[in-house]
Symmetry: C2
Subunit: 328 residues, 2 copies
Amino acid sequence: MKNKDFDFQQALQSIENEIQSMSLGAQPPELYAPIRYLMDLGGKRIRPLLVLLGNYLFSEDWQKNAKPSIAVEIFHNFTLMHDDIMDNAPIRRGKPTVHEKWDRNIALLSGDVMLVRAYQQLDFVEETYFHLVLRKFHQCATEVCEGQQFDMNFEKRNLVSEGEYLNMIRLKTAVLLGFSLEFGAIIGGASAENAKMLYDFGVNIGIGFQLKDDLLDVYSDQAKFGKQVGGDIIANKKTFLLINALARAQGETQKELLNWLGKETFDATQKVEAVMKIYDVLDIQQVTKKKMNEYFEKAFGLLGGLEIDKDKKKTLIAFTNDLMNREK
Amino acid sequence: MKNKDFDFQQALQSIENEIQSMSLGAQPPELYAPIRYLMDLGGKRIRPLLVLLGNYLFSEDWQKNAKPSIAVEIFHNFTLMHDDIMDNAPIRRGKPTVHEKWDRNIALLSGDVMLVRAYQQLDFVEETYFHLVLRKFHQCATEVCEGQQFDMNFEKRNLVSEGEYLNMIRLKTAVLLGFSLEFGAIIGGASAENAKMLYDFGVNIGIGFQLKDDLLDVYSDQAKFGKQVGGDIIANKKTFLLINALARAQGETQKELLNWLGKETFDATQKVEAVMKIYDVLDIQQVTKKKMNEYFEKAFGLLGGLEIDKDKKKTLIAFTNDLMNREK
């Protein structure tokens, strides 16, 4: 039964093959070349891997489902193409973003076609499960857009509550991870209860991941992390850390924090060091770790109710831990 | 059987009711208010009317299908929201465009949700026809984007051939009219052949309509047309008329046409009059009318093969003539 076990490398390879061979129109090239470009920039393909993993938990034939699984990767890349326009981001995965390499109109329209293309990829779902998967995909896609809008709104506000932030990251990033697992489970024939449990597992893991990302931006080995440590601090990005620091700081500490946030010119290293000292005073690293672990524990707690083989549960846990322990 | 005949006013009313009562999320408001705003700006609701008309030709129960029919209206308005960003258009139906009233990022993201919402509306299609309709919708949505990209490309080019232009308007505007009729036919239980024939009818009518629009911009009663006569001429818009004039003009006429096209400052009325004189010399109005009539004749010629009741065919013809004879 070797070929029925979940083989991470085999899964990844079949996902890459599907991405390489996915059909795209040819004309006009301005519409299709950016899709190929962005999909070829790589990434860890976590979402389709989650589809196949969720599928493996309930089906002997997870290898058959690489084709529908890449719908979530196409969708994810669509959100990147449009988010990069909205954020004026010049670089994505070390290369020029689509709107930089081509232009904003092309990135907009090419992204639109990509969303249609993601839907189209769901045509490969077996007819029995097709409509159910589609309904859940509508919901997920809508929520991802809601999360992005909340994120943009928060950047313009002075104060954002912890609850608002957690809801935003749930929508913007976590629900797609939950949907990916649930999608795999559904097309593997899982019961509605099991599929929902896996969705909730994915959402909680996803929120935990985002909190981990917030932590890693400040507390990580720069070489491993692959981008400037403290980038979020330099940009006053409203992460879980900053939101909590703003909520907790009082007196002189508050004054100093607001002072650093208000500076238009500053030495980046000095600012990062100063804000990190404030985080230390306020115990922000521990507060964030605690919250992150709450989500991870909640996720793993859900697995008790999941009606699957013990070995399969172990595979799910091992895979998730792998993801959790990566430093990006 | 009165309530089974196609009643235009009743159809329009039920479409408006569905649009008014369609469910939309509430939070964040920046995402949903623009959708409501744009849908409420009105319009003739031609596309959902075509769905119901196509449905009536094959079904006794066309009144039941107002709900799925508005998917094409939501999709059409999504394209307007994004096209207006790309075209930098300040006004839509006499009111500020979404990106003017809110901002470009909101119009982008709200449009994305609208595309998902259009797909979601197709959930109201009966299960038997659901997947077929969806597959055809992917194709149509993709082609509409291709048409918009060709249109943007053409604006940057000096020469566009008649064939390229006709293909562009087929994609950008005609296929959605064809799909609307076909959609209605499919959910009315039409055979694949009849549905396809109705699609082709709609596409040919749609190309004819666009040529009529090109004509009306120059040769129409300004009061009826509701916008400045000659707007396309003033803006050097590459319509069927201009493309043909550029292809036909020679010697002095060509020199004069290129001269007007190259002027950065000019008196608008003078330019419109001068270019119209060139169009007269080159017989552009007749050439365009001839091409338009070719498409209308081709469309009506297809109806011979359509296996439907004679009275229903008459209704289809009457409705189409109504649309053809409107001056916008």
